[in-house]
Amino acid sequence: MNVEILARIQFAFTIGFHYIYPPLSIGLGLVMVIMEGTYLKTGNKMYEQMTKFFVRIFALIFGIGVATGIVMEFEFGTNWAVYSKYVGDVFGSALAAEGIFAFALESGFLGVLLFGWNKVPPAVHFFATVMVTIGSMFSAVWIVVANSWQQTPAGFHIVGQGLKARAEITDFWAMVFNPSSVARLTHVWLGSFLSGAFLVLSIAAYYLLKKRYVEFSKAAFKIALVVATLSAVAQLFVGHQSADVVAKYQPAKLAALEGHYDGSKPGDLYLMGYVDQKKQETHGLYIPGGLSFLTHGDFKAPITGLNNFKPEDRPGAVNFVFQTYHLMVAIGMFLIAISLYGCFLWWRGKLFDKRWLLIIFSYSVLLPQIANQVGWYSAEVGRQPWVVYGLLRTSKALSQAVSAGSIIFSLILFTWVYLVLLVLFIYLLNKKIKHGPFDEENLDHSPRHIEMADTLG
């Protein structure tokens, strides 16, 4: 395998693994803010227990998110040296701003959030919870800005040529608010809220099915259901807006998302299907002209197709982009359906009566995760063959000093370590959930343990 494929696999694998955690932190953070706010307002001890329980889960998630995130920050330089030199002026600024404005905020206050319960007054602790959540949302701002700049570059000019070419900022705010930043950031935030809310929904539904901590679970379920419903419905509009930006600025990606080849015809909107890349045809269930309608408000308007681009300027894996995109949309629709149905039952006073719905909710934690992953796959693979859209090809962005052998070594290392990490994470998360919110968490003080501990050295 060549260096390009290996470097792409490694980046995709490490960023994909990292991206399990930050959305959960952001979403769970928001839910914790609501829970602790409710505790401060009502003084009801149950909400304090609830916050503490989810803070413990948050700690587990956050720690892995930070560690795998530091890997990302240095991987640009290790694997993509030419890219780093090319975009450093622009992309580096966003990354540095992330470090100083966002990451410092969340990590600084994390200590108080986790360990400050007995050290600071409740209001100060609540402040720390809010700061950690805001910090993690800020992180998303800068990271999405940096990535959006790669999708729709703005506010820069190119200096130098060939390997010496690089982008320099001409207008900082035009760079920050490049055409796709706002739509994509909102899309990412809502996706994160969904991750966090469905984690809480899943845990609460699990307890309700087991008839454990019933009062606690019902209260937590309701808080998370509100967050989930609002985010899922809003995501419909924000997602559409995001697709509009793609239609306007990245026509090749849009064509790949719907498997649209012939640029003289209106675009169809597929519900499901597959793309035959050899024959350049797309088959499946579709609304004729639906894509044209969503983009131009007219079923007959032609949409730029993949055939309008030279083969070397098209995304290579059209079917992959098509499938991941459609899976994301399908999951989004399903989340809207179950959360709205949940709200309907709540309104009728029968929210917790339907066992089958609780079963669906208890497994639903996986859905926003899958949607987040496949959504990014389609966004990033759809941008190919460019790493910076229209400016720098992925194949030209690699480190010249790094050999395929070195990447294989690091890829094996990452795969092995991250798989162990994932297994341990799921095991510990599962254990925490089974253990429940009320019992003493640390088992250190049990006599059996202390006896054993004496022989530790």
């Binding site: 720690g63 622009v90 410092a104 990590s107 600071v120 790094v402 370590v417």
Partner: protein, 344 residues
Amino acid sequence: MATLFGIDYQTWWFLLIGAVFTGYIILDGFDLGAGAVHLFFNKEESRRIALNAIGPVWDGNEVWIVIGGGALFAGFPEVYASLLSAFYIPFMVFLMGIVFRAISIEFRSKEPMLWWRRMWDISYCCSSTLIAFLLGVILGNVTQGINLGPDHVFRGNFTEFLNPYAILTGITTVALLMMHGAIYLVMKTENRLYTKLTIIVKNATIFFVIMILLTSFYTLLYLPHMATAIRKHPELFVVPVMMVLAIANITRQITKRKYLFAFISSSVTISLLMVLVAMELYPNMLISTQGAANNLTVYNASSSQKTLGIMLTVAAIGVPLVVAYTTFVFLTFKGKVELDEMSY
């Protein structure tokens, strides 16, 4: 060229990035050092206290390397790209160390089994030591110079990373951070653990003094370019003099059992070491062993004036904020460690 208080933007960024990495070594340094001495504690209770002494702050300390990395990427993309791609394998191992260390701290307390805790103790200690060692190795290579070709692309083999000088600076860094971390732990502990730590502090300090002497001799003998600035400006000799005094003061304060002052002195030692290296490197950032024409300097490796200016504004707003809430967190958790139900 744009200047601020008569100093050009490139030099400002050289100083700022130097300051951030110095901050990183002082702050994350003490929790890395605490990790490196972790296995010297034999009791479960002691290990928990040692771990919770850094518990609320280690994550915040790690922020500084993220800021430093981002600032290097933004300010000097050529240096960021050349250095990281040159030493691909060591950096990958370094990153694995960061991952392992974070999860060791996080996972250790989650199960009561002896094998589980012992496993994460070992992993925590080894990864902390490894990170400290590799930091020193990187610093050693940067001061010594690396095999950079005319287009600033690394021409050597990654095994060159582990040369005698780099190994020496690596071990010196481990010794320095062990001392620094042990002094921090002494401040946070009481009773028997405190007594035990006073001995560890003493031994670590002796270890460090031996290593810094060896490194200094080696540098003066084999790296003549690391003394050019002082030869040219004899008044700069005050920096190494101050460093020696700071090291002497560490031992003095340890004998007097004034550990806060010892900690301040070891922080000053770290800062002066960094000043010494920066002073001798400037205006170079990455020295090429293939001739000065291939050196990456603050001028040929920097981003545009505009970006450096924007980033100065970002730093002017951001740094005071970070310092403010770092101080707040440290004050919240000042004093001896107390374990409660939310502890590790």
